[in-house]
Subunit: 138 residues, 2 copies
């Protein structure tokens, strides 16, 4: 797996490309008006995406279809350099005819076992999660 | 720091938004024709961006301007689940009137000390790097 970074201005605006035609803009030039995401935001996006894929996939294998799926991921960083994440919290919103125990099991399996991003970030950050199934916290 | 994931189809195509107007598309629906990056690619993009910001910034503080800056980042994953990165290699291409020792020092400082993404991923992956300054490996 390989990605390429190119610099887009003489400051901190970069284009990141995955070699399969998809690119991500990253910008640290201005706090007020950045033209892209930040590197640490990409880690939170990575854990959300990785876990999202797992959860959808685990439920699909049981013929359980989600009618809606959303996630909010929040990270707390150290004050000192290096400003690593010390806490990452995932709030997972699911809708559909999914039994509570199966919804919970799918999330547990992802975070505890399958999600490679989570297994990397957990070495530094305490990862916690909560599930809202059809609006109810389970 | 907070990001939001929304599902864009009934498979594995997601939109990730950073709350400051910037979004990243992530897709795992089809290997042949994905509509976005993969979660693990986001980690490689994160380390490239984080380290890129550091290097440019450290050199700027010394009034050393890069005329060109590029990076290639390659990651090797475990075969078994969870398929974490075990090796990450950064190839850093710099051009400009930069003394070799200052170029090397800027990269060392980023990877060893400042880059929060690198400090998180190094717990699982061995991180190595090489520098090409004006086409010459240093």
């Amino acid at each position: 797996m390989k990605i390429t970074l190119n610099r887009l201005n003489n400051n901190y605006h970069f284009n990141l490309e995955n070699g399969r035609g998809h690119s991500v803009q990253l910008d640290n030039t201005s706090v007020e008006n950045p033209k892209g995401a930040s590197p640490m935001e990409l880690l939170l996006m990575g854990i959300a995406g990785c876990s999202g894929i797992d959860i959808v996939s685990i439920l699909k294998k049981q013929h359980l279809e989600l009618s809606d799926f959303k996630m909010e991921v929040e990270g707390k960083r150290r004050d000192e350099v290096p400003k690593v994440f010390t806490e990452i919290h995932l709030k997972i919103f699911m809708k559909g005819k999914i039994p509570e125990n199966k919804a919970k099991r799918a999330v547990d399996l992802s975070i505890e076992k399958y999600c490679s991003v989570s297994k990397m970030l957990e070495k530094t950050a305490k990862i916690t999660y909560e599930i809202l199934l059809n609006g109810k916290k389970i």
